[in-house]
């Protein structure tokens, strides 16, 4: 009979799996896009004078991410 890993290992693995499923799951494009959005907006707001650009770009990129993910799903359904 296969030996089970220790409880702590199983708990840590389960915790990691939960967050992976929760944040990445079957939509890795959304996870990657949000990380990129945060990076771009951080760069713009760090430079100080680009606040307006950051304030506009943040929701625009959010809308674009949703559109790109829907387009990907539509393409997957077509196959």
């Amino acid at each position: 009979m296969k030996k089970q890993p220790p409880l702590l290992v199983r708990v840590v693995k389960g915790f990691g799996m939960f967050w992976w499923d929760f944040l990445v799951g079957d939509t890795p494009e959304i996870f990657v896009a949000v990380v990129v959005i945060i990076g771009v907006v951080a760069l713009l707001s760090e430079s100080g004078h680009d606040n307006a650009a950051a304030a506009i770009l943040l929701p625009v990129l959010g809308v674009g991410t949703l559109g790109a993910s829907l387009w990907r799903a539509k393409r997957a359904a077509r196959k």
Partner: protein, 254 residues
């Protein structure tokens, strides 16, 4: 001005927490009903209670701890998580609305669970299968509520309000669910999910900006503008997918 900004933020918070809790509670209730009707109510009830206590303990443990995280960092993390979570919800709701993905059918899920549970042998006394199934159903669906409550509640400094709203939603759906029993499928679940998605993405965008020190035009009232923007965009995306998707097109496996 302050009154308007505070109430708009609170309104979005209350709406997001209430709807997210209600939707998850409907899904959990379907599993508990299937377990109770098939294998008896005692273990199903015990599994539900233990799961609710575990979820309450999570909020009690992490809620006060999160308050000590620096506000900008907390808002950035919360904003990022809400953006991801909200976009995932919104994507699913749009795909379901446009016919690219099958709608969440509580009757079908109920039938599947009943068939699955009927195939398992029953024990005399405490039923371990019932307990585990009810516990897992309530705990896993409830975890999403806990994350919504903790993230929205702590970043808005209104954790108490978020917990109360979630509790009211859970009790309300529980009572209504017990009264109408098998009619959970008639609840407009996808519309509720779409509304939650819009609210979470709006909050996520707003908090991400706050965490990155973006100065929003109009301050907190920008939250209302973001809700309006994402609502309009969602409507446009649904219309686009409906107009470009042939009726017989296969569903996406998401």
């Amino acid at each position: 001005m302050l009154g308007v900004t505070v109430s708009s933020g609170v309104l979005v918070l209350v709406g997001a927490v209430f709807l997210a809790s209600a939707v998850e509670m409907i899904e959990a209730l379907t599993i508990v009903f299937a377990v109770g009707h098939t294998r008896g109510w005692r273990s199903a009830f015990e599994g539900t209670i233990v799961a609710l206590l575990a979820l309450g303990a999570l909020v009690a443990a992490f809620g006060p701890a999160l308050v000590h995280v620096p506000l900008d960092l907390l808002r950035l993390i919360v904003g990022g998580v809400l953006l991801i979570f909200g976009l995932q919800w919104l994507r699913k709701a749009v795909l379901r609305s446009s016919g690219l993905k099958a709608k969440h059918d509580e009757d079908e899920i109920y039938r599947e669970k009943v068939a699955q549970l009927s195939a398992q042998p029953t024990n005399a006394g405490r039923d371990r299968v019932s307990f585990v199934m009810a516990f897992k159903g309530v705990f896993l669906e409830g975890l999403e509520v806990v994350i919504t409550v903790l993230t929205l509640g702590t970043s808005a400094h209104r954790l108490g309000l978020a917990v109360i709203v979630a509790a009211v939603a859970v009790v309300l759906v529980g009572v209504v669910g017990v009264v109408v029993a098998k009619q959970l499928s008639s609840v407009p679940e996808n519309a509720m999910k779409m509304a939650v998605g819009v609210l979470l993405v709006s909050y996520g965008t707003f908090w991400t900006g706050e965490g990155l020190k973006v100065r929003w035009p109009g301050g907190d009232t920008m939250l209302v503008a973001l809700v309006a923007l994402y609502l309009a965009i969602t409507w446009l995306y649904v219309a686009w997918l409906r107009s470009t998707t042939p009726k017989q097109q296969s569903e996406v496996s998401v």
